[in-house]
Amino acid sequence: MLLLQLIINGIQVGALYGLTAVGFSLIFGATKIFHFAHGASFAISAYVFYYLYAVLLVWWPISILAACIVVVVFGVALDRYVYGPIQSTDGSFFTIFVGSFGVAVVVQNLIGTVFGRGFISVPSALSKSVELAPGLYVAPTAAIAVVIAVACFVALQLFLGRTNIGIAMRALSESPALVRTFGLNPKAVSTCAFALGSLLVVPAAVLTSMTSGLNAAIGGRVMLISVAATIVGGVGSLRGAACAGLLLGIAENLALWRFDPQWSEAATFLILFAFIVLRPSGFFGRAVNS
């Protein structure tokens, strides 16, 4: 029963990891920007939701909507005013990575200063578990997480497969010139990638604020998971990122079955190492050896 419980916990956590990782992977795939501040997006949307819903007592759909708007503005502004200028001068992988890293550091400390560095959580009846079977407890948030993750992923696939801009987004990583011949501005496509990628963190951020709570440093952890999932899934493969996110969530919880909790994070990185050394192309990715 413990095993089953851990798997269910893992699926809940993994579904949210998957969504966040898909956002990162989408941005990385379409723009080749190593968006380290993706974790910062997560933290921002979570805190906006927390502040509106739990402190100002705003109705929940409006709180979520506000979180969406703020996080999209943040992502797009970063693309326009930070990554854009960096790309126009140097634009090597490293300069963008450092710039993004700097943004993540600033956001984390800003949140700490404004909201405090302690732990906060959004009180909600949804995180209260019910006993489904003897010894098996599942909270409504688990079901919500899985449903939303699947819905978002399907919607994203439709968007990428059926719309012009979606197709362009997939093409952008291959060749910016190709996108221009489509009659689309690569800048607009990259803006769209940032908007969508950032939007995908909102469900995870909101649910996390209810279940395991938030602190100012949460962005760093989210980022680690996203990077790990993107690589394990194979760079450029959204399907891979989603599956890998799920895998990492389950692995992290399953590790608890036999090991002490402090090793559960290590499980994530053992998987990452195994993939980097044995199968650097990930589940579904292309070969990447230099």
Binding site: Y137, G213, L256, P261
Partner: protein
Amino acid sequence: MPSLRKAAVLAFSLLAASAAPVSAQDLRIGAIFPLSGANADYGDLYMGATELAVSHLNEAKVLGGKLSIAYEDSQALPQQGVIAMNKLVNVEKVPYVLSAFTGVSKAISTTAARSRTVAVNGGGVGPDLAELGEYFWNVIPLANFEVRAIAPYLVQKRGLKRFVLVYVDDPLGQSIKRELEASLAPLGGVLAETLSVPSNAQQFSGIAARVRDAKPDVVYIASFGAQQSQIIKQLRDNGVTQQLASYSGFAIPAIAGLAEAKGALFTTQRIDWNSDDPVTKRFTREYQAKTSRAPSAYAANYYNAVLLFGTLAASLRKAGLPVTGENLLAKRREIGTFDLVGGRVTFEKDGTIRSAMQINEVGGEPAAVETVPAP
């Protein structure tokens, strides 16, 4: 906003420090508290008490000059603590430093011993704090007393025999684990499962599953600060309905205000807030008035630590001796027993104190559920 108040206190003390004429008679001591980071709540709590003690000592004019405190931020991290300690010892040249948190206290103890500076702990409760040399004092009974007080109460009076321990894997958590292992068996209790967590962990749903799986009667939590709230909330969210128990780490406002924590039992040293003893009375009244908080054992400890310095420094001054770490130590050994908040306190040879303990219930009235006399 606690941080605003804290900032105001700081700004005020800075102003006061810069405005007041500095005389050769003035005394300065140091304090290394977590003023930022996840455990800033504690620093906030301690500072209210130390500031109160300073104002009381300065009003009493027993020191022949003004007393002030140089605060340094440890963020509850050992390394920051050592850097702060170096600054206090080398720049401020203080003879006496208030310390908090087991890890930080252990870290600064070497510098304390080498520079012959007295370090006084009023918050950390790891039992190994008793072994840090003659310059390291504790004005708080250490965690071994806490475990020894609550274990018989839970097993014998409440009939809760099967324990699960969720602990942070640091010196404090490890010592609580050792202490539980040692004290449960003779009482007829069992430590069914011990689950260690990293100090920065956030997700405890898996831990909750393992706790449930162990089918405990009581879950003992040995963490600190913000993480405790997370553990409690997620245990309750994930179907752990059993009695919760802890040590004095639960004596913070964040836990008192957490709905899920209601009914949890925890130990603190015994302090009779309604006692007729004048020191306790004055502290209780003014602390409440000044900080609009109920007095707590932590606050009393740090108030006591400053008061202890005042008593020692005053008698050194009277004897015409300089206030140095060495002299403070000699004086403490000479006097031995002090009247502090909560009553008369006697120091053991190793620089620790013993005290009666009490068991409290979160959200319970009255505050103390049970009193356990000093061993």
